[in-house]
Symmetry: C2
Subunit: 166 residues, 2 copies
DNA sequence: TTACACTGATTGCATATGCAACTTCTTTAG
DNA sequence: CTAAAGAAGTTGCATATGCAATCAGTGTAA
């Protein structure tokens, strides 16, 4: 069987890619600086706290956390070290697997998350959300959610992948 | 003067933000790894080479380059060090300002850029572009281009901007 | 049971990056 | 013209992160 798969994006999609990458760089850079200037936790910490908050029992296996926040296992180990040292989460042994550990949100961690949110929300609103119409917001969430899901999909052969229904 | 400015994004815009951040993380991570596996230059190098290629005379002042690729000045100094050591660009003294330097693309730099493009293009296509309809691509480029421009705009009062001439 | 491959997490080392201080040059105020 | 203020770039130091190696525990097959 032979199907043709474009291996190069057309001009419109390339423009979308470039805008995507550039907008992310400037907006995240700006928001990160604003958070630090306001004495809040860094975004990498916030992401971990949110992932834990949204997890069952506010806890996640470390490898799951690594996948969720898109960090290498070693990177996550160190990030969890810092959060644990700050008292925002704690490691607990995993009952099912004695190799494993579970990171569990502490009350202080939840408090830090809540304390950071207003500043973060202001940044998102001022530098991102304000620029979106209702339709555009809906479309961005849908399209980028689809992109995210496709990349995270365990079976993504990339070269040999049949076209997916939009 | 008093007007009400929402300082928190609504649910749809927040979903867009989260999809934006998460999709960027997973897609860029994936493409970066694919490039390295294929023996190509890292994305940070590619970004610099493209910025130079698209600049007048294929050269840019270092501080302009830093703004373009969204890097601190010191970070850019070191990145340019590495690219220069690899022969992909060269520093030239700036004729107008004796403090300044201009980074200029070399033929080897242009060659490295061209050599990396097919692998990069495959990654963009496989993990991003093929998930977008024509309309979605157009909208993403427009919206995210708008967001990028607004943040880069020197006068972005956002919340508190103490010193604003005029 | 035992051997072996695999997975989860951590650690050593190397790299990439930012902040703050510094040098050099330019611009502005007086 | 001179001095102060500001801007461009570099460097020292600290931090964040990844890869590869390692240790410990799990699963599988003979």
């Amino acid at each position: 069987m032979l199907w043709t798969m474009a291996n190069e994006p057309d001009e419109a999609r390339l423009a979308a890619w470039r805008a995507f990458v550039n907008a992310h760089a400037v907006v995240v850079d700006r928001i990160e600086h604003e958070l630090i200037d306001q004495g809040k936790i860094p975004l990498s910490w916030y992401d971990v706290l949110v992932a834990l908050w949204e997890a069952p029992n506010h806890g996640l296996r470390l490898h799951e956390l690594a996948r969720t926040v898109v960090l290498s296992r070693s990177g996550l180990t160190r990030l969890v070290d810092r959060l644990e040292a700050a008292g925002l989460l704690r490691r607990e042994p995993c009952p099912d697997d004695r190799r494993g550990a579970v990171a569990v949100l502490t009350p202080a961690g939840r408090a830090a998350q809540l304390a950071a949110w207003p500043a973060y929300a202001r940044g998102i609103e001022a530098h991102f959300a304000r620029r979106l119409s209702d339709d555009e917001a809906r479309i961005l969430a849908e399209v980028l959610g689809r992109v995210d899901a496709a990349v995270r999909e365990p079976s993504t052969p990339a070269i040999d992948c049949p076209k997916q229904p939009g």
